[in-house]
Amino acid sequence: MSVNEFVIPGLMPLLQRQAESGTVAKLVNALDASPLRETRTDAVAVADKKAIGTVRFEALGKVYQSSAGKVSALEDISLDIQAGSIFGIIGRSGAGKSSLLRTINRLETPSSGRVWVDGVDVAALDENGLVALRRRIGMIFQHFNLLSAKTVYENVALPLRVARVPNAEIHQRVTRLLELVGLADKHATYPGRLSGGQKQRVGVARALATNPEILLCDEATSALDPEATQSILALLRDINRQLAITIILITHEMSVIHEIADRVVVLEKGRIAEEGEVWKVFGNPQHDATRALLLLLEHDLPQDLRATLVHEPPQDKAFERILAFSYTGAGGLEPDFIRIGEALDTRVRLIHGGLDRIQGHAHGRLLLAVDGRAQLPKLDNLTTGQGAIAHDIQEIGYVV
C-alpha cells in the first residue's frame, strides 16, 4: 500500500477553501504544506467528486445471535445523511443506535440491506478496502478508548503510523492536531493523567489524524461534566464548519442535539420512529417514542432511572408507574402531597425533580412513582378545576 493512500482525494482543495480563520485554519495550512498526493483511482474517487462524506442506509437490518436467542437490533432502516451535516441519532437505551452507527465503518456487519459511504457499498470491500475506508472515517467513544501505554502524542500518531506516513509528516500533523484541541503542552503525558474532557480532546485529535471525511461519535460527551461537554461540542461544531466533515452522533442529551445537530433520527426498537430537521422533530414530535424521549430528556433523568425505564408495563412482575407532574406557577397551584395522595388514592413516592420559585410562583417538574397495580383516576381530570393537583400530568414509563 502506498504511503499516501489514506489521503482523501479532493480534500486538499476543499481544505484550502475552508482555510480562513482560527486554529482549524492553522491546522489546515499545516496539512496543506505536507506532500499529499491523490493516489486512489477506483470508483471511490469518482464518487468523491460528487460529495465527500455521504452515508446512505438502504433497508438495513441487524440480527444478533446471542445465547438467549436472536435479537433483532435494527429493522428496515433507510436513511440518507448528507455530506457536511451534523446528524443526530437518538432513542432509548437498546433502540439500536450504536448498532446503526457501527455499521458505517463495519465494526458491525449488517444482516440485511446495505450501507453506502460516498456511493460505495461498505459490505463489498476487501480487507485493504476496509482499512482505507476506516481511515476516511474517524470515531470517538464514550469512554475515550485511549491506549494507556502510549503517550498523548503516540495515541494521536498511531493512525498515521499504521498508515505508514513518514515520521516527519506525522510529527508535523500531530503537533498541529494537539494545538487544534488545545493540548499541545500535554504531548508527552499518558492518558491516565488527563481529565475526562482532555481525554476526549485527545480522542478527537486521534479521530482527525487521517483527515477523515466523516466523524462518528457514540455518546462522546456522556461521560463528561457540563463544562467539558460544552467545550467538546464547540470543538465538534468548529470541525464540522471549517473542515466540512460530516458528523454523525449518538447522544442521550437532548441539549446536544439542540445545540449542534442539523437533522435527527429517532430510533425505537430498531426501527425509525421519525427523522427530520431538528427544529421540526423537536417542535412537533409525531411519534410517541419521540414525545416520551423529549419528556425524558427534558427531565434530565438520572442515569440509573433512564436505564431501567421501559415504555410498556412489564408483564408478570411488580412495577412502578412513573408520572411527571408539571407546575407552571399559574393560579398559585403548588405540589401538595396530601392532596396528591388523596387524588391518586395510593402511595406516592417522589423520585426526582425540583421547583424554582420565580416571583413567588412555584415552577418546575416532579417525577413521582406509584405502585403499578393501583387503579389511577383519569389523569386529565386532575389538572383542571378545583381538584387540580398539577398543571400537567404525564405518564412517562414504568420501572420494575
Partner: protein, 220 residues
C-alpha cells in the same frame, strides 16, 4: 573476625551461577515462546478476531497437559528429548530443556489472562482507525497487557527458581542441589542455612524488581 566455611566458597558461587544460568535461560525461553502462544490462544478464542475453536482447543490441550505433569516427572519423561536436543542427559543444559518446557505453558496461561483483560473498546478503537490484525496485537494487546505480563513473568521466574532445585536429579547442580547434597544428605546445617538465605534474597529481589516495574508501568 574470621569465619571458617564448612565447604569452599567457590562451591557456593558455582551453585549460584548454575541456578542463575538455568533460571535465566529457561526464563528467557518461556518469555519469548510463551507470549506468542498466549497471543495465539487469545486471538483464536471464540469471539477473538481469528476465532478458530479447533486450533484454540489443540493448543490449549497441549498447554494443559504440560501443566498437569509434575516437574520432576516431566524431567524424567523428557530425557530422550533432552538428549536429542543437547546431546546429553545430565548437567545444566540438560536441565534447561525440561525447565523451559514446564515454564512456557505456565507463563503462557498467565499472559493469556492478561491479554484477555485488555479492554475490547481499545481493540475496537484500533480497528476503527484502520489497524490490521497484527498491528492490533503489536500496538494494543501487548503494550496494554504488559503490566500483567510482567507480573506473570515474575511469578514464573520464582517458580523456576524453585523447580531448578530439583534439577540436581539430573546432575545440573545449582543452589537446591547444594542444599540437598550437603545440608540434607551430610547433615551440614550451615550449607542448608546459607542456601536458604541466598534463595530468600534471590526470590525477594526478583519479586521486588517485578513489582517495581509493574508499578512503574501502571502509574505512568
Amino acid at each position: 573476625m574470621s569465619f571458617e566455611l564448612s565447604i569452599p566458597f567457590a562451591q557456593y558461587t558455582r551453585a549460584f551461577a548454575d541456578t542463575f544460568t538455568m533460571v535465566g535461560i529457561s526464563g528467557a525461553i518461556a518469555f519469548f515462546v510463551g507470549i506468542p502462544v498466549a497471543v495465539l490462544l487469545n486471538v483464536t478464542t471464540p469471539g477473538g478476531f481469528l476465532a478458530s475453536p479447533r486450533l484454540n482447543r489443540a493448543v490449549g490441550s497441549v498447554v494443559n497437559s504440560f501443566r498437569a505433569t509434575p516437574f520432576i516427572v516431566l524431567m524424567v519423561a523428557l530425557i530422550p528429548l533432552t538428549r536429542l536436543i543437547t546431546g546429553t542427559s545430565i548437567g545444566v543444559w540438560a536441565a534447561i530443556v525440561p525447565l523451559s518446557i514446564s515454564a512456557t505453558p505456565f507463563f503462557a496461561r498467565i499472559a493469556e489472562v492478561s491479554l484477555r483483560e485488555v479492554d475490547p473498546g481499545l481493540v475496537e478503537a484500533a480497528q476503527a482507525m484502520g489497524c490490521k490484525k497484527w498491528e492490533i496485537v503489536r500496538h494494543v494487546y501487548l503494550p496494554e497487557a504488559l503490566p500483567g505480563i510482567i507480573g506473570g513473568f515474575t511469578i514464573t521466574l520464582v517458580a523456576l527458581i524453585s523447580s531448578s532445585a530439583m534439577a540436581g536429579a539430573v546432575g545440573a547442580g545449582g543452589l537446591g542441589d547444594l542444599a540437598i547434597r550437603y545440608g540434607y544428605q551430610r547433615f551440614d546445617t550451615e550449607v542448608m542455612v546459607i542456601v536458604i538465605a541466598v534463595l530468600i534474597v534471590l526470590v525477594t529481589s526478583v519479586q521486588a524488581a517485578g513489582d517495581y516495574y509493574v508499578r512503574w508501568l501502571r502509574n505512568r
